[in-house]
Amino acid sequence: MQGRGTYQLDAAFDSTAGIVAVWWEKLAGGPSTGIRSQWRDYPATMIVTVCYLDGQWNVPVPRPPKTPYTRGIIFIDENGVVMQGPVGNAQTLPIVRPTG
């Protein structure tokens, strides 16, 4: 993260690339949208840690958002590769364990 101030780690779940891919695709709109997770490019059994962090998330926006982005997800794979997941707030991005 690149924001000023601090981030609070609210939760972290160990998962796998296969589960994270399916879960992320659901978050992004589901199979009917045709979306495909980049985690499908990795071995399905590879360990991926899903971290929920609360703080100020400065993302590229066309206009100020309706509500500030105060929560974000970071994915970290077993080799240390970091990918940013979705951002939102406690309402739009409640803490849940990823499921496939």
Binding site: G3, Q38, N58, V59
Partner: protein, 209 residues
């Protein structure tokens, strides 16, 4: 995704936006720097947006993110989406190098899919059978000290209702070529005037309508 017909209100149903620009080198001064594609204030974004509602609570985006760490410049292409389901985030990222020129465009097919292209490569597709409210292209950063060389946004064209590519509307925006000037703030201007496109500190865009 549903069929939110409200996004078809008005006369401009944007079905495509295209910009030709360089992945220029930027300077970002924040001490919060790492070589990952994560967001934050130590990033300069060269982006274009297609708002899917009037307030732009939902949108499609294609751009380049830049960080400048002690290890050197770090940058990546990205596709971003905020949709009515509450999802807001990257759909795709790819770390890149070099500062060459590319054509970046987002276009909707009559099959309801939005597609993101860089040059001739389709990077992503997403089914969302609505068209856009308005367009915007430019730069954005949360770093108050971000700086960049002057550079141009060329070939700014759009599609309306699956039309052929056409220039941005002259009355709403005369900048077929948009020149971005930094620092101390981000501007997107034509060659002769600073008026019209300054939005806020560290944010400069050209937009229509």
């Amino acid at each position: 995704m549903g069929n939110d017909t409200s996004s078809r209100a008005g006369n401009n149903y944007y079905s495509g936006v295209s910009v030709v620009r360089y992945d220029s080198a930027f300077t970002v001064t924040s001490s919060h720097c790492d070589t990952t594609t994560t967001n934050g204030d130590a990033v300069v974004y060269q982006a274009m947006w297609l708002a899917m509602d009037a307030a732009a609570y939902t949108w499609l985006e294609l751009g380049t993110g830049h960080k400048n760490c002690s290890s050197g410049e770090f940058k990546w292409w990205y596709i971003w989406m905020s949709n009515p389901n509450g999802f807001s985030g990257y759909l795709w990222t790819q770390v890149i190098s070099g500062s060459v020129q590319h054509r970046f465009y987002i276009t909707n097919g009559t099959d309801g899919y939005w597609r993101w292209f860089i040059d001739t490569t389709q990077e992503k597709a997403y089914y969302w059978p609505n068209l856009g409210f308005w367009l915007q292209a430019g730069m954005e950063s949360y770093d108050p000290s971000a700086s960049a060389p002057n550079h141009d946004y060329d070939g700014m064209v759009h599609q309306v209702n699956w039309s052929g590519w056409q220039g941005w509307i002259a009355g709403a925006n005369p900048w077929d070529t948009c020149r971005a000037l930094v620092p101390p703030s981000l501007w997107c201007v034509d060659d002769t005037s600073l008026s019209g496109n300054y939005v806020a500190a560290n944010r400069g865009v050209a937009s229509e309508p």
